[in-house]
Amino acid sequence: MIGFLQNLIDALSLGSLYALAALGIGLMFGVLRLINFAHGDLITVGAYALIVPAADATARMFIGAWPLPLMVLGVCAVVVAFALLSDLLLFRHLRRASAPTLMIASFAAGYIIENGILVVYGARPKAIDLWPDLGREMEIGALHVPRLQLVTIGVTVLLMAALTWFLKRTRYGVQMRAAAEDFAMARYIGVRANFVIGLAFSISGILAAVASLLYISQTGGLSFTLGVPLMLFGLIATVIGGMGSLLGAVVGGLAVGFVSSMLQAYLPEGLRSFRDAFVFAIVILILLLRPSGLIPTKALVPRI
């Protein structure tokens, strides 16, 4: 029982990270029908923003050395700037383009960011130790829980609550939901297209920044592709959750995290190295059973 609870907390914490990545991707898809493959690279940018831009083998902290609130704000600002820049320089010119065109453009954006990081920071992976205190374990009854996992879960819940509040209770949130549903109609009613899209990029950037902070304090390693697996699992999460549904993205993220942690814990020793193959097999199974995801977007059918 204790073992299972321990695994459950692992699953929740991993699932939270995937849910954060999935939310960022799902938001962009909802508003712009853009499957943003550059989202992972925004996460990478957030991690590299912590250190001094230099090709040295050892990392020296830059924003990472600032006091916590400033550090979080600083990393968010850098990632949001990159996200907005990708819109300004690239996606804004493709507003009338098809979804596949946008997707390929996002590949290009990601590739450019990765190579930019290579040029500035060098190709060698670097180690950084962000928040060493969080590595310590907390004892809750008989459970030993790393603080970092609790922080990850807590921060994710907080961000999701904030996002829900924003979307439901503010006029800009309502405009975003309207635009996600019917962009042409939203514009006819006065919703500013570029503003709403910029907002979506900014929020997605904040989600990427937070994901990168949490992820980097878990792994401690910087590499120019560090965000790619997060993006991949986030994307899978949005697909099995139901493309375009934010709740679906969260549910999908938690599901992927859950399955992958549980497989890690309960697969026979010899099969553990094939864990991801099992994860993807389950993903395929879910999609066969529910092709439009766990929480389909068009849940509300007009009664005409």
Partner: protein
């Protein structure tokens, strides 16, 4: 108030509008009639900024609308209710209504406008917090008209308000439109496929066919329907039009 001058629109290689000119004066009610595919919807979409004409000019109170994005045109006081109702299905009825008013600065009057919309359509008040996708077709049509009114337009364009609605509901929709027009002097430009209702209350009528204006005139001069019928179906000589009148009653 609105002047459309010789606009041409293509969808790919297909010509949708081949030089449409029309005008709407302050507080007029003008109807555009025509069969399916005549270019009625495209004309309204071009005025509202949804499609861009490759030739021609559109002016609203002497300001050019040509090439402006839809949100800017909406803010200038031109509101389009497109065909097919387009409620935001996952937003609540109230959110649907309020989103129309977000661009306005007179917050105090927004509340009284909302109250008035709900008085006009009490059905909406009962469903304020429900997702708009759950409304019936007629209720959705009322909602999109109210939503457009919430922007406080000076010119309101409605694309086939009666499409797919029961005659009784259509009566309600028109009654509400005429009431708003009477109370606030909002100028109306309405697309319809059938001339039946339109002839009663329109000031002027344009008949479109194959992307061109085939007939324009004051509704009172066209009341017998002969000229409209002949323009609508494209009969050019008089004998054809009178035989059409005989068959169509």
């Amino acid at each position: 108030m609105l002047e459309v001058e010789d606009i041409h629109v293509n969808y790919g290689r297909v010509a949708a509008l081949r030089g449409i000119s029309l005008r709407v004066d302050e507080s007029e009610l003008v109807c555009i009639l025509g069969p399916n595919g005549a270019g009625k919807s495209t004309t309204l979409a071009a005025i509202a900024g949804g499609v861009r004409p490759y030739r021609g000019a559109i002016r609203f109170n002497h300001a050019s609308l040509t090439g402006k994005p839809p949100e800017t045109i909406s803010r200038l006081g031109v509101s389009l209710v497109p065909e097919g109702r387009h409620v935001f299905a996952t937003l609540s009825v109230e959110e649907n209504l309020r989103i129309g008013a977000y661009q306005r600065r007179d917050r105090a009057r927004v509340e009284s406008d909302l109250e008035r919309a709900l008085e006009l359509f009490p059905r909406l008040r009962e469903r304020l917090s429900q997702p708009a996708g759950r409304l019936s077709g007629g209720e959705q049509q009322m909602l999109v008209i109210c939503r457009a009114m919430m922007t406080r337009p000076r010119l309101m364009m409605i694309d086939e308000p009666s499409l797919g609605l029961a005659p009784k509901i259509v009566d309600q929709v028109y009654e509400a439109l005429l009431q708003r027009r009477h109370q606030e002097g909002v100028t109306l430009l309405i697309n319809e496929q059938s001339s039946e209702r339109v002839l009663e209350f329109a000031d002027r009528i344009y008949v479109l066919r194959s992307g061109s204006v085939r007939l324009e005139g004051r509704a009172q001069d066209l009341r017998d329907g002969v000229a409209i019928m002949s323009a609508y179906f494209g009969f050019d000589d008089h004998s054809a039009s009178s035989s059409a009148q005989a068959t169509l009653g």
